[in-house]
Amino acid sequence: MTGAILEFQAVHYRYPDGSKGLDDCTLMIAEGERTAILGANGAGKTTLLLHTNGLLRPQQGEVRYDDRLLSYRRAELIRLRTDIGMVFQNPDSQLFSASVREDVAFGPLNLGLSADEVGHRVDRALAAVHLNDCAHKPVQHLSFGQKKRVCLAGVLAMHPRVLILDEPMAGLDPAMQREFLSLLDELHASGLSVLLATHDLDFAYQWSDTMVIMDAGKCVARIATDTLSAQQEVLTRFGLGIPQVMQVWNALGSAEDTPPRSVEDLCRYIVDNGYK
């Protein structure tokens, strides 16, 4: 196991309106991994994400980044929010500038970088999300999928170490989902740790290295996705169901240990092994 980049220790958070956010939540996010946080709506996934870069502050308990307890001092928050880039669920509420370039430049400009450096970073970020040709388009003329990628670019331009995404696949049609998925894989391959919250079990199973399961504000399980098939009762216990691929795998009753992750792999396996 690689080292922890983020650690939560018994974190409590209750919203001002009285609703519970996190309740004695303890978990660890490993550096360089793809981690998926799973749970029903209201399980505390978004609240957890908002704690990772200091947008929310635990009322009890501790959050550690890079083995250092967060102090929530100004300088530290700036470093934290530079290192940990967050893409929210709804692109319309996080794209606030008129043009794509302007929006991507928002973060770097706040860092006080020179105009040249900002320009460079914006170009590279737009290239990373394959949107160079949209740089001067007004945001409202983009498709939903393109908007999502602009949000991602806006975060990449800050040069983060960790990428945090809330429900990245929500609202994308299947073609855009494939595109966005391969984008995430490229970014992960380039060395970023990626942490995302989702309620799409099939996607989490296909994509992640580690699954973190949340329920009622608690982190109730942390599972290496490769070993999931041995721990299926955890999923059913918290009402998350079983990934479709694994359901079919179970029905097939294969002797092998690790089931395939995607439907494509499953089909290949079925054909190769001559099920008839």
Binding site: S97, A98, S99, E102, P138, Q140
Partner: protein
């Protein structure tokens, strides 16, 4: 700047209600005509009221470091016209009284007068005037919203001074007194509101 519930003597409270009522009534009447022609305008008015309320609750980073909030009615007047702001302002002030305990019911008339009538009309008038003498757009916006905020606060001071004249110096002394005391928070706020409005319109122009 709200006058608090129960702060004005009964006579003044009723007087200001009588002053504001016809303006609000005219606003409702003229909006009603507009809504008949464009039914979707009804929705816009409701949404605009919510927006004005949210604006007034937004914390502004102010010079002193403490946070305070703008009136937003000058900005609203430039978007929707000053006549629309009287009914919208009435609703917003009622919501503020009932949901935030800012202002009140007995002082509703006085507050509507300063914030939903004087402010918007000053903003609109100054803006038109500034454009007529060919001042640049940004400067016109700044002057309009800044002076709307200032006039609102001076009106409130005058309303308080009328209600509580200084025994020695009378209305004038009392007005100077109220204006001076509230100047500490209101002057920086007026300038910030003006600057902010310029930023908003600049951003809007690019969309």
């Amino acid at each position: 700047m709200h006058i608090m519930e129960g702060f004005l003597p009964a006579g003044h409270a009723i007087g200001w209600i009588l002053v504001s009522a016809p303006v609000v009534a005219y606003g409702v009447y003229s909006l009603g005509k507009k809504v008949k022609k464009h039914p979707e305008y009804r929705m816009l008015l409701g949404v605009a009221a919510a927006f004005t309320f949210i604006l007034s609750a937004l914390k502004i980073p102010s010079v002193s470091g403490s946070s305070s909030h703008p009136t937003g009615t000058g900005f609203g007047a430039l978007l929707f016209g000053p006549t629309a702001m009287a009914p919208i302002g009435l609703v917003v002030l009622l919501f503020q009284a009932l949901l935030l305990a800012h202002g009140g019911i007995t002082t509703l008339g006085a507050n509507v007068f300063s914030m939903a009538i004087v402010g918007p009309f000053v903003a609109y008038g100054v803006f038109r005037l500034a454009r007529m003498v060919r001042l640049p757009f940004g400067l016109a916006i700044f002057l309009a919203t800044c002076s709307a905020n200032l006039m609102t606060y001076l009106t409130t001071s005058a309303q308080l001074a009328l209600a509580f004249p200084d025994p020695a110096g009378g209305f004038v002394a009392s007005f100077v007194k109220f204006a001076a005391i509230f100047a500490f928070t209101q002057l920086p706020l007026a300038i910030i509101e003006g600057l902010l409005s310029v930023l908003i319109f600049n951003a809007l122009a690019r969309f």
